[in-house]
Structures are given as structure tokens and as C-alpha cells.
């Protein structure tokens, strides 16, 4: 009833090509943004903002980055956490070494540094494909974490590479309350998500998808493979780098290189798999799922099984449930939550008269 596109005629090319061609979608996106920006800060508790919403947004950004590389350009990467680390440490260095550095510029600098490193580690992708490439990106993962720990220069000689983020100040306003940090992160993520959405609908995005689907064929129709693949690595790493900088500055405050370990890379990979490979929306859904699941399991196990099980078993049970759920999801819906969303939308278009 509500979700009908009947009567919405496209009378110009501009109308045909806009991001959300259906009016209801535009309203929904607008509503989500308004709720996220105005209602949430008013109603959400400090715990929700600090421990759930901020990490959710940051992980969404990282998942978006990985989705560009893996979902759109088809290059499997297991090193996204390392690129986040590069972003975090580069932003820290920009802030610490340059007097009066604007913090947003430092974030961009962090992203650009990550992009440069990403291009470097993306070079092998020109010759290596599939799982061989996945293992190659592990080289980036281990090497970067090692280098950040070993060389004091990166962490400005703090002990064992732990960095403490400087305070965020933009135009004299200090972002020190959870709500202000949340709004800052929300703005950055919204702008970058919009940019990503537009990128994948442009010629760049179509080139990525052509390379993903079959790179030899893409080359034959005149797509520059090297340019396309390295651009995917650069932009993906840029997103991961900014996410890493936010992770350090807006979420944790204090990070060490070991915090960006392989587990985090896997976590981000899970997000895009569960959310939907090759979907902007899926990055957000997957991030929400992976951020909320452990909290949910914690609460569930604590509330219902506290008396029944010793803590050592319940933590292992959580591990098993987590692994089991991932397998379950892959079996039930290999295309992720985004696909379920699509199916739901299709159903909604026919509802309540499916015939």
C-alpha cells in the first residue's frame, strides 16, 4: 500500500539517474538521517552512544572500505585492520608533529597515508588472484602491525607503540562529550557513504564490477586493469584509514598496534559477508549485526544461563554460537542481509495483494 512507485514518472535523464529514484526511499533515507542526527542524541543513553553507536558507525565505514575492494572490485583482502592502523597512526603523527593541524585535515591525511600504503600492497594484485592474493594481504597485516610496534618513530616514541589521541577541536569547539563525538562520526560516515554510493554508480564503479566479474574480459573491452585495481585499493584503504583514525580518536582514545590485529580484519570481513558483498547498505547492516551480536549474546547468556554454567564454558559457548551463526547465515542467505532487505522490499511492493 505504502510502498508503490506507481505514478512516479521519470521525465528526464536526471530523474532516471538519481540515487534514490523512488520517492519513498528518499523519504526513508531522510527520516533515518533526521532520527540519527536529532532524535538519537536526545533519547540514547551515554552507554548506547559510546559503546554501540559510535563503534557501529566506525565499523560501517571500515566495512564500506572493504566492500569497495572485495565486494565491488573483487579483490579479497584480509588486511583491512592494518590499513585502519595506518590511518590511526598517521593521523596521530599529523596532529602531533604539525603545530595547529586541523583535526579533520589530519583524518584526511591519515586516510591518504593509508591509501598510499594500500596502493603499495595492492601492487601484487596485478599478478596474483583469488586466495593467493588473500594470503598476500596477510603480509600487509603482519608487516604493518610489526613495523608500528617496532619503530618508535610511528608512535612518536611512546612506550611499546601505544598512542593516546589528542583532543578533537574544530573551529574552537571541543568535541569531548559522547554526543558531540557521535555527531562528528555520523557526519563523516554519512558524507563518505554518500560518496561511496555515488562512486559505485559511476564509471569507476562499473569498471570495478567489470574487473570483479572477469578481469580478462574487462581488459578486452578497454578497461585499464592496473588503474582500476589500484584505484580500488587506494579508495578502500582511504576509507579504512579514516575509519582507523576515528577508531582511535572518537572511540577508544588510546590504541596500540596490536589492537589492529588479524581478528579485527576478520571481523570486518564478517561484516561484509553477513551484510552483503557488493552492497553499500549491506556494510551498515553487517556492522550493526557484528557489533550487536556479542553484546546480545553476553546479555542472553548472563541473564538466562548464569547459574547453570561456569564462566569459562559460557565464553566458549559464545564462541561456538558466533561461529555457528556465521555458518547458519551463509547457508540460509549467502548474499547477506542486504539481499533479505531487497526481498522484503519486493514483497512490500506487492503487499497486500500479491496476485
Amino acid at each position: 500500500m505504502l510502498y508503490r512507485e506507481a505514478g512516479q514518472f521519470k521525465t528526464s535523464y536526471a530523474a532516471d539517474q538519481q540515487i534514490f529514484p523512488i520517492r519513498q526511499d528518499r523519504i526513508a533515507i531522510g527520516l533515518i538521517l533526521v532520527v540519527a542526527a536529532l532524535v538519537v542524541p536526545m533519547v540514547a543513553s551515554e552507554y548506547w552512544i559510546k559503546a554501540i553507536l559510535i563503534p557501529f558507525l566506525i565499523f560501517s565505514l571500515a566495512a564500506l572500505g572493504l566492500n569497495i575492494l572485495t565486494g565491488y572490485a573483487g579483490q579479497l583482502s584480509l588486511g583491512s585492520a592494518a590499513f585502519m592502523a595506518v590511518g590511526a597512526f598517521a593521523a596521530y603523527n599529523f596532529m602531533g608533529r604539525i603545530e595547529g593541524m586541523p583535526v579533520l585535515l589530519a583524518f584526511v591525511g591519515g586516510g591518504l597515508s593509508a591509501a598510499a600504503v594500500g596502493i603499495l600492497f595492492g601492487l601484487p594484485s596485478l599478478r596474483i588472484k583469488g586466495f593467493y592474493l588473500a594470503v598476500a594481504t596477510l603480509a600487509a597485516q603482519f608487516f604493518i602491525v610489526w613495523a608500528l610496534t617496532k619503530f618508535g618513530w610511528f608512535s612518536m616514541d611512546s612506550s611499546s607503540g601505544v598512542i593516546t589521541a589528542q583532543e578533537i577541536q574544530i573551529l574552537g569547539y571541543r568535541f569531548d562529550t559522547p554526543i558531540s563525538l557521535y555527531l562528528l562520526v555520523l557526519t563523516i560516515v554519512a558524507v563518505m557513504a554518500l560518496a561511496a554510493k555515488n562512486m559505485v554508480r559511476s564509471s569507476v564503479g562499473r569498471a570495478w564490477m567489470a574487473v570483479r566479474d572477469m578481469d580478462v574480459a574487462a581488459e578486452v573491452i578497454g578497461i585499464r586493469i592496473m588503474h582500476t585495481k589500484l584505484l580500488a585499493f587506494a579508495i578502500s584503504s582511504f576509507y579504512c584509514g579514516v575509519a582507523g583514525a576515528l577508531y582511535a580518536y572518537a572511540y577508544l582514545g588510546t590504541v596500540e598496534p596490536e589492537g589492529f590485529n588479524l581478528d579485527l580484519s576478520f571481523k570486518i570481513l564478517f561484516m561484509i559477508i553477513i551484510g552483503g558483498v557488493g552492497s553499500i547498505m549491506g556494510s551498515f547492516l553487517g556492522a550493526a549485526f557484528i557489533v550487536l551480536l556479542p553484546i546480545f549474546l553476553d546479555v542472553l547468556i548472563q541473564d538466562f544461563l548464569t547459574g547453570l554454567l561456569p564462566p569459562s564454558i559460557s565464553s566458549n559457548l559464545q564462541l561456538m554460537v558466533f561461529g555457528g551463526l556465521i555458518i547458519f547465515f551463509l547457508i540460509v542467505e549467502p548474499h547477506g542481509l542486504a539481499r533479505l532487505w531487497q526481498i522484503g522490499k519486493e514483497k512490500l511492493r506487492l503487499w497486500p495483494f500479491p496476485h
Partner: protein, 297 residues
Amino acid sequence: MQFFFEVLIGGLLSGVMYSFVALGFVMIYKASGVFNFAQGAMVFFAALTFVGFQEMGAPFWLALILAFGAMVLLGIATERIVLRPLVNQPHITLFMATIGLTFFVEGLAQGIWGSTVRGLDLGIQDEPIEWIMDKAGILVSSFDLFAAGVAAALVTLLALFFQYTRVGRALRAVADDHQAALSIGIPLQNIWRIVWAVAGFVALVAGLLWGARNGVQFALTFTALKALPVLILGGFTSVPGAIVGGLIIGSTEKLAEVYLGGYVGGGIDSWFPYVMALAFLLIRPEGLFGEKHIDRV
């Protein structure tokens, strides 16, 4: 020079240990095209099960058989619950499923047997052999040598199994071409179960040797990460590749740590194998013994 050889031999022998884990990967990849990330967790599970049964008072052989039985069960369950519903899915989905399996198996192993670090005694001393010490002046651990012997025996056994038994021939047929194998009546699902069981056996052997070396603990799961560069160096589909790759990685890793590590502050063995394998891939993108891949449009 003597020191060089000592490091080299030590590295080669520790490379044998990597090969064990890589072997399990290769078996499963060859037969079912699944990149089984859970191999490390299987090593952990196998070793923990073995030690668990031993603690319950089972003698060595019984514990070995029971642990092998557990691995077979795990393999069959994996085939039934995880792989069969995911047939015809893209490789990355299967790969992700095995990561999920990794979490599950780790939780299962620790849930059943507890997460304390246990010792594992195979009755072999980890001491330098005096005879070689006297003759050449090189320290060679008897345990490492034993591991190398087991590796040789295992590879021979696997090679014979693949070459001369009915099941082995079927396995090779499946590895060559699923469709063709199915069309001449080879039961694919049985073959997969067997492959997972054999990989479980390899994991058990690896778990026993690694466990006897470093204690049975959670860190055993990281052996999978050590095996990955071995795999890409040797090629995903080659059993000899896993062995040769293991030897190359093991020896260069130790040599690099000793001769280069000093210049950059040490600890380079966490990433050196990967970077080396990466450099190697640039020259041969399909590994040493991997099948050459030809792209067609």
C-alpha cells in the same frame, strides 16, 4: 659456517612442522576446492582431544584411536552440516564458512576439555643428538629429527594411498574434475567425508607433534597462519609443494631472523614468510607446484 648450518637445519626441521599443517590444507583444497581455514583449529581440537583422553586414563594407542575417531566424526559432521548446503557457492563463501567453523571448533574444544595449557609427552627427548654433535659439531634435536621421520612416513603413506587404492584413485578423479567424477559414478559426498577424515588424521599428527613441542594450548590454532605462506609458496594443490614450501619457509625464516633480524630489531619471523612468499608469487603466481591457470573469456 657451522653456525649457519645449525640454523639452516633447525629451520628445515621446523619447516617440516609447518608442512604438516599445510598438508591438511592441500588435501581438502584439492578434493573439494575449499580453502579450509579451520585446519589450525582442527590441529588444536585433535591435540586437545588426545590429551583429554590420556588424562582420563586411556593408554597412548587408545587415545590416538579415540582422537582419530573424534576427527572423523568432526569431518563427517562438517561435510553434512556445513559443506553440503553450500555446494556451488562461490569460493569466498565457503572460505568464510570455514572461518565460522574455526570459531565453532575452538569453542567446542575448549568447552569440552577446558582451556588450561597441558603438556604432551610422546616419550621422545628434545635434546641434541650426541652422535651428530661429535661428528660434525652441529646441534640437531632428536625430536625434530623424529618429526621429519614422521613427515616422510606420512607423505609416503599418503602417496601410496592416493596412488594404489580404489578410494585414492577416486580422490584423484574428484580433484581433477568434479563433474566428470560424478558422471562416472564416484559418490562425491563419500569422497568429501573421506578427505575431511584424512585431513583430520593429518591434523592429529600435526597436533601431537606441535603439542609435544610447545604444549597443547590455544596458540596451536595459529599454526594455520604459519602454514599459509607455505601453501602459497608450494601451490595450493600440490602435496610435494607443501613439503618443499615448508622446508623453504622454515629455513629462510630462521636464517632471516638470525642474520637480518638484528638490523631491524628482531621479531621479523611474524611477517617475513609472508613477504617472501609474496615476492615469490610475483615471479610464479601459482606457486612452485601449483597448476597453471589459463584465463579464457
